[in-house]
């Protein structure tokens, strides 16, 4: 199928693949925003049970106990940072008019693999191994190895999936694709990563939250 047809919004892939890798073809705006925000909060609360954190736009780390609400707040900050930067990138790169609601909504929905990431930390062996690593014992316990490795693979795959969704969300909501889309997305991602890390640091300081190792 030609690029022109793709540009008109007709999915090249099967409906199943479109739902998996470009759900924004079907869902955007307020619906995407509602679902996305709910998923971010649920994923954050789930992650808190295994001392895990969404400490950056693309970051996920485990092993530091913190208040149950903190990972959810981290997820919301990551979403805002990414959406604001992509909104700016879209204003520069896109020739079309687009809605702010679609940028924020689709970026929220794009973070749904974070739910899989948080769920993966419940695979038996992962949390035990994380607690062991937190004590600076860097050996892998054979009893924990299968669960730890499986969870790590799921976490990495879900993070890559989320990255793909974030780009597709940007491409659909701002109507940018190809080289123009890629060249405007990557700098926005890098700046959003730095911005989210900085915002999280100052938030923790402002809220006087102490994360115990």
């Amino acid at each position: 199928m030609s690029e022109n047809t793709m540009a008109q919004g007709i999915p090249k892939d099967s409906p199943v693949l479109t739902w998996l890798f470009n759900p924004f073809h079907y869902i955007a705006g307020g619906t995407a925003l509602g679902i996305g925000l709910a998923v971010i909060v649920v994923a954050g609360v789930l992650a808190s049970f295994t001392d895990s954190h969404f400490d950056g736009v693309l970051d996920f780390h485990s092993g530091l106990p913190a208040p149950f609400w903190l990972p959810a707040l981290e997820g919301l900050i990551n979403w805002v940072c990414m959406a604001v930067l992509l909104l700016a990138a879209g204003k520069v790169a896109s020739k079309s008019r687009f809605r702010i609601l679609d940028v924020f909504g689709t970026q929220a929905l794009a973070r749904w693999p974070g739910l899989l990431t948080a769920a993966a930390t419940f695979i038996p062996g992962y949390y035990a191994q994380v607690r062991q690593l937190a004590t600076l014992n860097f050996t892998i316990d054979p009893a924990n190895a299968p669960g730890f490795i499986t969870a790590s693979v799921v976490i990495i795959a879900a993070t890559v999936w989320m990255l793909v969704l974030m780009y597709r969300a940007y491409a659909v909501s701002c109507n940018v694709s190809g080289l123009r889309g890629f060249v405007s997305f990557v700098p926005a991602l890098l700046v959003a990563e730095v911005l989210s890390k900085t915002a999280l640091y100052y938030l923790l300081v402002a809220l006087s939250v102490h994360i115990q190792a």
């Binding site: 073809h25 955007a28 079309s96």
Partner: protein
């Protein structure tokens, strides 16, 4: 039978050479270019027609196609670009 807008052999735009009245059989021959809307693909024509039926409301059009608002917005942008291109490359 739908009026074709492209040559089935080479894919180039085609022109009308002959028009005929079905009532009195009067024929007019010449070289007539197809109007811009007729030179759109069947899918593009259907999209433009549905847009008119929805009174230009993209939210309503998104419901008709069962897709999101930005998807129809992007499709409309592509259609606008295509029409601009067709107008620019209008045969002399």
């Amino acid at each position: 039978m739908a009026l074709p807008s492209q040559c089935p052999a080479c894919g180039n735009d085609i022109q009308v050479k002959r028009l005929e009245c079905p009532s009195c059989a009067t024929a007019v021959e010449g070289t007539f270019e197809l109007p811009v809307l007729q030179r759109l693909s069947a899918t593009e024509q259907e999209f433009a027609l549905n847009l008119l039926k929805c009174g230009g409301a993209l939210k309503e059009l998104a419901r008709v196609y069962n897709v999101s608002y930005p998807t129809v917005r992007n499709r409309l942008d592509a259609l606008m670009a295509r029409i601009t291109e067709l107008e620019r490359t209008r045969p002399e």
